[in-house]
Symmetry: C3
Subunit: 500 residues, 3 copies
């Protein structure tokens, strides 16, 4: 059993949402063990990884993340191919992401690490190639290796992550790092979070909701750093980005005010909880240091150690991925199509009303949705006989629309479309004037090529020409909650936009 081996089954490292607490703990423990014993043991472990190939595909460059992956691979005796920024590559000529990734897979890369500007790009590539993929940042979505090294650093300092008080400070709106960290912290028990952000840069509501739902713990928020200084054990500082503010004089003024709110100096820290430690994903910005240089020498400052820990985490992850066998998982539709209702034979009244001898009767549509469903199902094009009964009386709902489609049994995809736009709809299949099946549609676990993701930066959006198929996970039926499989953005029924 090798030092670097971990027992988890992941074949890609794509998002903190994929990890269990046990998996995170095992990775941290292995990384700390490697850090403690490093030099000698690394040599021994090269047998597995020696001369293997890391494809390092940084469509957006990055010093720290790229270098620490490449260094981790180098220490494992691997060779590195790839690019740092797309200047002069075939990406600039318009090569689809999938083709670039497939090329490197064809070159027998053993692991791919990639950063890309589009949300969901890494998971898309993981679907396309038969090589393990590490997500080193996909647009505004995820950055799981950063979170793993953050958690390692916290654990290394405090011996635990449970029960800690952690303040996140600065730009909590756009900072991918803190969003990912919040998902990681949600795996642990009783972690208290303060979200300290200036007006306009607060933590997004969906991040807060997800954390609170998963942990049952409330997040506190305040714009005032001093409110948390004497309580927090970890101060996770982030960079406030000048480019988020208007370029005008007012913008400059606003930026200065906001960034000045969180200038952490030795002086400020004298008022802090004695056990408080300072973290930062780096880089900090020299023109306006959010952590002043006089903090660097303090034992509270963990940020350089934090960057250093990244190499160990990545050695563990790459080493793990070299040992896995990636197999295509078939997308099986295991759940049924129907929530069946009892069919008590012929329902004379209704079959009479719409005069439907054979076909499909869509009942209980919200008033006004009849024509919409008619259009979504493409019934005009098929020249099917359809009777629309609109805004008629319903004993159950007051008013309803009903569609009677003659001589046609709807396909599963058509049924799903109905369920996506109507929560109330029930469907009756009629044969020879009898209702033979009746019920409400159950959405499958995965919806493919049905919906347009509403995140304009999602890799599946047609305007990016990446030809990534739309794919949604149905997280909840009623009320409907979908999550884009690639960019991980959730949407409810009000956001549904069906693909043409």
């Amino acid at each position: 059993m090798s030092l670097l081996n971990i027992s988890i089954l992941k074949t890609d490292i794509l998002s903190m949402r994929d990890f269990s607490r046990e998996e995170v703990e095992e990775i941290i423990h292995k990384a700390l063990e490697l850090k403690r014993t490093k030099k000698t043991n690394t040599q021994d472990l090269n047998s597995l990884s020696h001369n293997k190939i890391l494809a390092s595909l940084f469509f957006e460059n990055s010093t720290r993340t790229r270098e620490s992956h490449e260094l981790a691979a180098t220490k494992l005796g691997m060779n590195i191919i790839g690019f740092a920024g797309t200047e002069g590559t075939s990406v600039k000529k318009g090569e689809p992401l999938a083709d670039t990734a497939r090329m490197y897979a064809g070159f027998e890369a053993d692991v791919v690490v990639m950063r890309h500007n589009l949300d969901g790009a890494a998971r898309f590539v993981a679907d396309v190639v038969n090589v393990p993929v590490i997500n080193a940042g996909d647009g505004a979505n995820a950055h799981p290796t950063q979170t793993l090294l953050d958690l390692m650093t916290i654990f290394e300092k405090f011996g635990t992550i449970d029960n800690l008080k952690i303040a996140m400070v600065g730009d909590l709106k756009y900072g991918r790092t803190v969003h990912s960290l919040l998902q990681g912290l949600a795996l642990f028990r009783n972690v208290e979070i303060w979200a300290v952000a200036p007006p306009g840069l607060e933590m997004p509501a969906h991040c807060i909701a997800e954390f609170e739902e998963r942990t049952g713990t409330k997040i506190f928020y305040t714009p005032h750093l001093q409110e948390v200084l004497d309580k927090a054990q970890v101060l996770y500082m982030t960079r406030i980005q000048r480019e988020r503010f208007p370029t005008s004089v007012e913008g400059e003024h606003e930026f200065k005010k906001v960034s000045g709110m969180y200038e952490l100096t030795s002086q400020v820290l004298t008022r802090a909880n004695p056990s408080l430690c300072v973290m930062h994903p780096l880089p900090r910005v020299k023109h306006k240091l959010e952590i002043s240089l006089d903090v660097d020498a303090s034992p509270r400052a963990l940020y350089f150690e934090q960057a250093r820990n990244g190499v160990f985490i990545r050695q563990i992850l790459i080493s793990h991925l070299l040992g896995v066998q990636k197999t295509k998982i078939e997308n099986k539709e295991e759940n049924g199509l129907w929530r069946e209702r009892f069919v008590n034979g012929q329902d004379k009244k209704e079959s009479y009303l719409y005069r439907l001898d054979n076909g499909t009767l869509i009942d209980h549509l919200e008033p006004g949705k009849g024509p919409l469903v008619h259009s979504l199902l493409g019934l005009e094009r098929l020249q099917t006989t359809v009777v629309q009964a609109l805004n008629i009386a319903s004993t159950k709902y007051g008013r309803k629309d009903v569609l009677a489609i003659h001589n046609m049994r709807l396909t599963p995809r058509q049924l799903w479309k109905i369920a996506l736009v109507s929560e109330r709809a029930s469907v009756n299949f009629i044969e020879d004037k009898r209702v033979v099946q009746k019920g409400t549609v159950i959405l499958p676990r995965v919806l493919e090529r049905l919906l347009l993701c509403q995140n304009v930066n999602c890799v599946t959006r047609p305007e990016h020409f990446e030809h990534a198929p739309s794919k949604f996970i149905v997280e909840q039926d009623k009320p409907l909650r979908l999550r884009c499989y690639y960019c991980e953005r959730t949407c409810g029924q009000e956001d549904v936009e069906l693909l043409k």
Copy 2:
């Protein structure tokens, strides 16, 4: 005898024009053998190449070609130095290509692989440094390693290249790849070529002429893909480049029309020859896919395998070059100066006519070329006595110009200049009123520093300041056909422009 060793004698890989059929076959066989046996054998073979150095000089970047050369070298255990794009290098400061190459040779590079925007750049470097050079693309001229991997892929699929029916589709005018491939295919027997291109992007006449002349086989051309679909066995698709069309609305329209002509989909392929396979040098462009993604999974699609084959071809080539000893070949003038005619002693009439006792008489010049030759030979500057008899009667040609140069015997370079501008000229050396030698000039095999290459992108053009000497191969005497030694462009007498 090593697996990777090939027996050919090439010390540089510069152009398909340099290769024999036997050499191409041996390279393909070795590459296929390597592909079959790879991992284990590569290890063994590292002894020769281990710690050798590849200088990878990409004056223009390229993902696929650069990466596969570097990966090939890495697999051979070599180290890599060089650059991908010239941003920030001394090339940007104006360093001559020859100096850059010499620097890397001085750093003890064992093989140089290079891509450059100027035609002939690779052969120029091969002349300048004592290190084997691989041409990874020189301007619009050649890309021989691409052709070798294309031929390997065809051979791998069909077990032969002879007798195949191959359609090249798309931009056949600017596509360096298809020009190089045509040269490669010319080595094989009975290959039928269809050139499928939209109006304005047809295969250049000189490429067609060269193929037809070498093989005796006609190339068929058509703008219509459907005409070849049921016949071709290989469909070699290429990218139609947006930048070849005007940026206007009409240009956009024109581009769309043209690129839409060749959109290869699964649907289109249902009408194709069952044995037809699809190749593409890649990248394809996501905004307008000439091969739609649904073709990728088809067994007809060879383009990803094609890219992958590049690594094996390049391992063979680099490995071969590591074993060669490059020696400077002296440029010997083996052919004589004269096609002598019988001198029947004193020709009274002529020597009388021009009153030439001693010197050179240039006879039979086309009317009007007398003053031109006078000027080309620089006779004004020498203040030699010259008698020009212009547009006089000739028994042989009707009219002619004659020059009588007193007391001077022309040098070989002066004689060649005459032969370059006049097909008819004959020269008489006269001593003591007698014609002592008489004949027409024979051009040497190589003309150095005499002519200006008419290809404005040639590495020898003075406006590029590369200080590469002009050098032409005399392929044919009458009618005159010269080929630039570097950029491989041919020219006839009408294109001749002598250097000042």
Copy 3:
């Protein structure tokens, strides 16, 4: 004892000013030995350096210098991390230099080699990280490895550096290379230097002064190359940079005139000293070659060999640095504060004049400097009682200013400020109406955070936001000569600008 080991104690390679003649000689000898014996021995020596890490941080790119460092490291079996140009790195996001360097040190780099646009950047990094640093060029300041390879090349050719006649030709004003070389040559005996430069590009006065002071030998200067051709043994050519001249037509004309002055051709060299050799740091510029290509084949041409020697020098330097233990040197203030004068008890007259019972009396200030000193010491802010006696009669100097500061003893930093702005000032500490101490201030060897460096490109300048502390070496007391510890620029009293 390893072949590559040298016995010098340097833990960083930052400036030729740090080197002794013995150290330079040892490096040259080892590099020549390595060159002679190379291949086999390098293998043996890998044990120390194998798998060690070179961080190659080129904030400004460079082909020759970067490649030869990386190649040297590769030959030692090391791994390389870093960047070539800052495009797409966190440097572009505004990361302070110190943070970038610390990150790479945290990644366990064993040696850092760096080029940076700011003067003093390398020494600043060497102060900040606990890893040996090689300066591969810091702004217009130093480039010591270039000088070492230049000296190696000269020594290799002539077997000595003493007694040689060396002409430096071209742009001697902006050429960092020649300034560094001059410092290196100053270590040797009886070297005659000709500085051949066009008007406006002459060697700066401070470079000349430093050389002449250290060696006692005069530098000759002339704009005319022909004056030195028959005497010089080494012709060190440099590139005249087009960008130094205005972009106007006159600028172009001026540039052409100047660069044309030093066009070295085979023809020109026929008039040269038979033993003369030609060197050039390269690149030369193809649009206007200062050394024409026909010189390349001459045995006089050393410039390609010179570039090649760089690899050996850098192998020696890197190998040496891998063996050193870098320890922080404490900045001890070993010299006293005072040059004491005899205190003959109570000085009635003065204590009466200013009515100072207890406090500090600053005497003998140059007339007009009283208010300046008052302001510099920040006495307004402290609301101290101060009596200023301005422009009063002095037996010693004619006129003087005097300051009597009540009830306050000045700190060392305050005393140093006085010494920096006044050469004449003497200070008296008065207790209970008695002068208890009296004297002139002695400046310490190092002045930290007191002065603003007048070199606008210095890494310490606040406008660069690198947060490098101001630090000056006091080279000479009276007249005052300070040298910036980082950018190595000297300044005198007239340049002193105290930090706020």
